[in-house]
């Protein structure tokens, strides 16, 4: 933000600290206690639980799924943005008073992990107007069964930006780890990546945060775990399928 008003008259208070790791009672901490210090959840309120109940329900229509998952995504992005740095900034209000506030610092961009991550872009853009968005496609290599990078496209100056990495479901963490590796290959430091995710399995969270301890993870809800097919339980099914995101990047 530009044109900071003259702040010599009064010393503005220091900007508020970034959010601290959650140590409030957390209804789903039962699934993961304690949380790794780099993991942050949304406040586990009744209204958030009601949102998750709607999107978990297999009877929920696609329209409702879109509406309610967008609401969670907006909240997650808002929470993620709170980890970005701010600077003290004094402004003059229309009433002629001065207000000691804060200004946003640093450029950001979004990176969605295809396909499901793409569904989070609309929510991101509602909070961060016209933000640049890169994309990564990672799929399981049929020969090695390891995640393999198929495609990536990033803003040119991504190394100078904070990156909000978007993937709705964190199950084993394989593709998320691969995506972070790709970002780091493009020069983005680990601590400038914020991973934003709707539902995480404790297994995936553990693997991911051990590998990247200084990368912040914002997750809406931590579920029980994985079943033998590596689906999150109770989960919400296939996020991309339920939003019917269908993109054909490859023949």
């Amino acid at each position: 933000m530009s044109s900071t008003a003259d702040a010599t008259k009064s010393v503005p208070p220091p900007p508020p600290p970034p959010p601290q790791p959650a140590h409030v009672p957390n209804s789903n901490l039962a699934h993961m206690n304690p949380l790794p210090p780099s993991v942050f959840t949304l406040p586990q309120t009744a209204q958030l639980e009601a949102l998750y109940t709607i999107i978990r329900d297999k009877e929920t229509s696609r329209g409702d799924f879109l509406f309610y998952s967008d609401r969670i995504i907006r909240l997650l992005v808002e929470e993620g943005l709170n980890h970005l740095p701010v600077v003290a900034r004094t402004v003059e209000t229309p009433t002629g008073a001065t207000y000691n506030g804060v200004g946003f610092e640093g450029k950001i961009c979004g990176v969605s992990i295809l396909r499901a991550g793409e569904a989070m872009e609309a929510g991101l853009r509602e909070v961060c107007r016209s933000v640049r968005i890169g994309k990564i496609l990672i799929q399981r290599d049929e020969e090695t069964t390891l995640p393999k990078l198929f495609y990536s496209k990033f803003p040119q100056d991504i190394a100078q930006r904070y990156v909000l990495l978007l993937d709705p479901m964190l199950a084993t963490g394989g593709s998320a780890i691969k995506a972070v590796e790709v970002l780091m290959d493009h020069g983005v430091p680990e601590e400038r990546i914020i991973f934003i995710n709707l539902i995480a399995a404790p297994e995936g969270l553990t693997t991911f945060t051990k590998r990247f301890p200084s990368l912040k993870v914002i997750t809406g809800w931590i579920d029980e775990g994985l079943n033998d097919k590596a689906y999150i339980i109770p989960g919400l099914g296939d996020f991309g399928e339920r939003r019917q995101v269908s993109f054909f990047y490859f023949p």
């Binding site: 309120t45 297999k58 907006r74 009433t95 804060v102 200004g103 509602e126 989960g235």
Partner: protein, 524 residues
Amino acid sequence: MPDDFVKSPSYLSVSPEVIQSTPALQPKKNTVLVSHGRPPWYAEDGQRIADAFVIGVAGGSASGKTHVARQIVRRLGSIPTVIILSQDSFYKYHNEEELKLAHANMLDFDHPDAIDMPMFASCLSDLKACKQSNIPVYSFAEHQRLEETKYLYGATIIIAEGIMALVDPALRALYDLKVFVQCDSDLMLARRIKRDVKERGRDVGGILDQYLRYVKPSYDTFVRPSASHADIIVPGSNNDVAIDLICTHIRQQLQERSNKFRQKIAIPHKYLSSRSGASTPDPRPEDLELDITLLPQTRQVQGIYSILRDRTTSRQDFVFFTDRLSTLLVEHALQHLPYAPKTVITPIGMDAHGKKLDAHHICGVAILRSGGALERGFRRVINDVPVGSLLIQSDSTSGEALLLHSMLPTYVRQRHLAKDTYVFLLDAQIGTAAAAFMAIRVLLDHGVKEDHIIFVTFLVARTGGVSVLKGAFPSVKIVCGAIDNEMQEGWLEGYKGEGNTEGKGRKVWVMKPGMGQIGDRYYL
């Protein structure tokens, strides 16, 4: 009052109860007539200070009741809100048999039993108590009460008119003034023949037949004797002097009430301790304990407020960040709704134990203009939600809040729904709290429960009217994003619009540091 009340030829405005429901013949009946805004009708404790003033006007068919009612409305001049409630609306629902008789002109509409007196009395009693009423709609063409109802709310004066208006004791008990319009039978008959022939193409024989069979006996048996209950008997023609007398009486009555209650009327800013132009003293300790739900002051929220408070922020940015902030506020406000446990099955066949919203109905009401700035965020959070509006502006001379227009959602209009409805009141800020006070009173009048009202706003002035508001309505939830310390009396340079076509400046209370005129910055 609009002059078209009285410009219709006199023979058209003499006998409402048998006139066909052609709109041109019944202008503005059963409608809240507004001359200017409605000033506060409640005291600082939030309670209503007076009932509406109710006048009953009875008299024979074609005696000139409607004319008298309209003349009263016109002579009273600057009375804010008046309803002329017609007895015609309260004809009973007819069964098949009665319907056949009615179409053959064989049903006696001039008997007291033809009218649903208990319903008439209950509607009138609700209106008198400043509640809303959904009165029935009767179609003369179909000779039947229709499914639809007509919503009425907010009258200071109610004129109930009809041939039987003084017959029923329950009705009589509701009137503050009872008027009987006395007219010679031959004059009434002459007017009736003239009107029915001209307006309905009926033949004189048929009219006389109906007159002798129903109208005349009913008049002699029920209507004329009810004149003994009247406080004043008005001649059916050349009655200017009588109407003047009535109006003088009404004005005097209203003045007395007003004098009695003047000091008690809730004008929250008069409790503010600020002198003109000076800033308010430090907040008193009790103010700091106000039960207000404040949005967590995260970096993003503070950053958004810094942008919104900055006078150099472009309108484009202002709108974007206002929408973002209102979304967060409404999300945060949802904690005041009730939730119940619910178990669902996920697509992979697992049970998931969660919660569901446990509220019957939810709607929003924006206090215009600046409350409209929260509407976008509200709709982003609550799907498919009805949003109504209240246009409340402050009077430029007295500073009193004036209710200029209300457009409430069905959930609020219908009393039986209102009691289970959660209402989000949206307004940009609570400064003097005058508008908030009035809006909450409107909802309570409609039967919304106090603890079902959630007031969502960007800014609250700690030293403003919010403590008076909380004192009057302790159960109303207030959710805001920031609390400012100061209220300052200032002069607002004129903007055109806002009921101020000349763009005159006015004295206002502004919050400091504040966000400026949020409505202007969002809309203009």
